[in-house]
């Protein structure tokens, strides 16, 4: 059964130094509030996992929380670079960042294998790419039954999986709808899971297309209204495109970034 906790308590209990942590949300609804709790709690040496690391990972990397990033696309969608991510990779500032890089298809399959409790996933893809040459987590295997050569990628089973959803009930059953991304796979594939929600309600009304991680496969639920901002929560609020555009300016300079984080996040 999921425990209903305050967000700061939930992060303190679930996220430890050195953990592998996936704060997922494929563009919708990204768990910003949870990330903003990890920063002031000064977590260190995290392996951050995410298909599309965007602003919240830029912030965690820039504040020195991460030692490694497992990912497939690290940019500010429609705007450009993640400047703190670039600074870490190009200049080693504030600390060197180890990269484990995949394609979206590879990452999605790794998550699905994690949820399915399989050691690896098989897919077509990566043939002829330098990712295959560089990454020990991409291997060619000979298939049983046909003898064909295909690509294998290992399952991802994070220590902690964190997602944001619209609602939970008081028992900790969660309801998420709109773009559901890889959130189900993260909850099911992680050793511990935290779901932040816009609101806790007495009863969950059924929603078309919703996924409902039941309370018995979630470790903790924390209420975090507006917790996906500046990304969005379908049927609650829209994406704050202006903030994504302003982030380019805020994050470009190390000092300005640090000042902004201290003032807004802690």
């Amino acid at each position: 059964m999921a425990e209903l906790l305050r967000l700061d308590e939930a992060v303190r209990e679930l996220v430890h130094d050195g953990d592998s942590v996936a704060l997922e949300g494929f563009t919708h609804p990204i768990p910003f509030a949870a990330g903003h709790e990890i920063v002031p709690q000064r977590r260190r040496a995290l392996t951050l996992i995410r298909m599309t690391p965007d602003l919240i990972y830029d912030q965690l990397i820039g504040m020195g929380c991460a030692a490694k990033l497992v990912f497939s696309w690290g940019g500010n969608p429609g705007v450009g670079s993640l400047h703190r991510f670039r600074d870490a990779v190009e200049e080693g500032c504030p600390a060197p960042l180890e990269l484990e890089e995949h394609s979206h298809a590879g990452m999605a399959n790794r998550y699905a294998a994690g949820a399915a409790n399989l050691p690896f996933a098989v897919l077509r893809g990566y043939v002829g790419t330098d990712l295959k040459e560089r990454m020990p987590t991409i291997a060619m295997i000979t298939l049983p039954f046909t003898g064909e050569i295909r690509t294998a990628v290992p399952a991802i089973r994070p220590d902690v999986g964190i997602i944001h959803a619209q609602r939970a009930d008081r028992h900790g059953n969660v309801q998420l709808w709109g773009i559901v991304g890889v959130q189900k796979e993260i909850v099911l594939g992680s050793a511990r899971s935290l779901v932040t929600v816009e609101e806790v309600v007495d009863e969950l009304e059924p929603r078309p297309g919703a996924i409902v991680p039941p309370t018995w496969c979630v470790t903790a639920v924390a209420e975090a209204p507006h917790g996906a901002h500046p990304s969005y929560a379908h049927d609650y609020y829209d994406r704050d495109d202006g903030f994504y555009q302003r982030w380019d300016e805020i994050s470009r300079d190390r000092d300005r970034f640090q000042g902004w984080m201290r003032e807004r996040v802690g």
């Binding site: 494929f26 429609g78 991510f85 979206h104 298809a105 773009i179 991304g181 890889v182 994406r239 495109d241």
Partner: protein, 239 residues
């Protein structure tokens, strides 16, 4: 009506799309071109976005592939592992639109790093959906501005490599196609007012030119009107 180099590219890319094609779209110029096609000559084009949307019909251009408008106007929204495994890898995608920072004569695309991978001069976002799209769509349309910096002898990192499908490259100067036998890009068309010499001087390798080189039609007033209306809602960010 006068037009910019980006507008020429976008209109040319849109014209590559025939009606009723199923099109896997990334954000930026590809999304602009695909939506322009849908709002002009190819109304039954099906737009598929990697965040899981099938059949999106946005009225304005989204800044992000996850934009709510794309989900609300879609026929279906499916999980991300499904969009890549069942729909793309399953062979349901006719056309994949891609951008890149560099391309080479073999049609290899780099969107990962400028310089060495371990000590990059510029760290770019990475391959994202592109490696799988390049390998698995029946046809790939690449949109990229042409210069010595982007049309390089060898890409610094092979992020995406063309599969067995056809590849068309639309630039601000013209159009190139991957010769299916030689697996080399060949200049097949130039935009109005562009010379072959000009295209050659913006290409870092000795460019092959088709025997029957065509000149592309200039963007029509109607194309430009629809395109500008599409973009006006968002301003320059979506360009």
């Amino acid at each position: 009506m006068s037009y910019s180099a980006d507008e020429v590219m976008t209109v040319a890319a849109a014209r590559e799309l025939t009606d009723r094609t199923v099109c896997f779209v990334g954000i930026g110029l590809p999304s602009t071109a695909a939506n322009l096609a849908r709002l002009s000559h190819a109304p039954r084009t099906v737009l598929v976005y990697e965040s899981g949307k099938i059949g999106s019909k946005p009225a304005t251009l989204p800044l992000s592939i996850g934009d709510g408008e794309l989900a609300e106007t879609a026929d279906a929204v499916v999980p991300v592992p499904e969009i890549f495994n069942y729909w793309l890898q399953g062979g349901r995608i006719d056309v994949g639109f891609l951008g890149a920072a560099q391309i080479d004569r073999r049609g290899n695309l780099n969107s990962t790093v400028i310089g060495d991978y371990d000590r990059p001069k510029v760290r770019l976002p990475g391959g994202g959906g592109a490696p799988a799209i390049a390998a698995m769509a029946k046809q790939v349309i690449v949109i990229i501005r042409q210069s010595q910096r982007t049309f390089v002898e060898q890409v610094h990192f092979r992020s995406s490599v063309p599969g067995s499908g056809a590849m068309v490259v639309i630039t601000d100067l013209g159009e190139l196609r991957l010769d299916p036998d030689e697996r080399e890009l060949v200049l097949t068309r130039v935009h109005p007012g562009v010379s072959v010499d000009q295209v050659r001087s913006e290409t870092a390798w000795d460019l092959r030119v088709a025997d029957e080189l065509a000149e592309a039609e200039a963007p029509s007033e109607e194309d430009l009107r629809v395109l500008r209306e599409l973009k006006s809602a968002l301003g320059e960010a979506a360009v």
